[in-house]
Amino acid sequence: MKIDLNSKRALVTGATGGIGEAIAKALLEAGAEVVISGTKVEKLEKLEAELGSEGKVIPIPSNLGSPEDIQNLISQTTEIDGGIDILINNAGITRDGLLLRMHEDDWQNVMEINLKAVMMLTKGMLRNMLKKRWGRIINITSIVGSTGNPGQSNYAAAKAGLVGFSKSLAQEVANRGITVNCLAPGFIETEMTNKLSDERKKILVNNIPMQKMGRPEDISFPVLFLASEQASYITGQSLHVNGGLAMI
């Protein structure tokens, strides 16, 4: 049994990050057309060239902190005939700091991009999925949304918020052939985790039963599965991919 996403179109936000790039690649290999969105135009163009297979990759630069950019991304993708079938809300930022030192902006920016933008984009894409009686919405959350993490009260709150959002929406649209799920990565080798000090990484890895960090590909295949026809009976769930770091 093969995962076949021919004739489906996906949107991956935060596509220039390590995990986003791997997800875009996996969807493309399964036959989907993929709209890649990211803030950095050069990186987006580079990724398009790297992936570039017969016009099946459509780059749309957008900053999800800007309501205008979100609206633009929605109108540009819904204008394409057939719209978006698979929405991967992967974009996310961190503004780490102990709560006592956290500025309101650090909270606000994380909520805007990691939570509010997901609501706006999902709402924008839902119309088309309802019409087709088929859709996949996959929100990339995080292990810290379940476990918490010192210094990440804002990020963990936004990620936990996404879980409640996904479960509610999953119930609203379940009988319309649309599934809504979360994929919660543990510690994956990406730019986001590269910011951690070597010492901190060593401590983290020691706590992982598998004694290693995950690779972006460890996330992209489970995402591809959730996007597939074969996963049509799975909705409102969180799939944790973390090398055993938390067993939830």
Partner: protein, 79 residues
């Protein structure tokens, strides 16, 4: 029967899978025709497309019966 009403009726019949005779003027989508709340949103989307009108969320809330829908569309088209 006028043309708008018959187009609205066709959408309702198609979307909710009910008999044409059940779609009387006073028929409430939810109470009489078995729609759930998402069905009513989808009906409004279908009306918007069929008649090329924009139905704002606050207006959509006032469209509960077949008659409401026909009247709203007639009014929107005459504006």
């Amino acid at each position: 029967m006028d043309e708008i009403a018959s187009r609205v009726r066709a959408i309702v019949v198609d979307h909710l899978g009910v008999d044409e005779e059940a779609v009387v003027d006073s028929a409430s989508f939810i109470q009489d025709l078995g729609a759930d709340s998402l069905d009513t949103v989808e009906l409004v989307m279908a009306f918007e497309e069929e008649f090329e009108v924009e139905i704002k969320d606050e207006d959509a809330e006032g469209i509960n019966t077949f008659e409401d829908a026909v009247n709203f569309i007639k009014k929107a088209q005459s504006e």
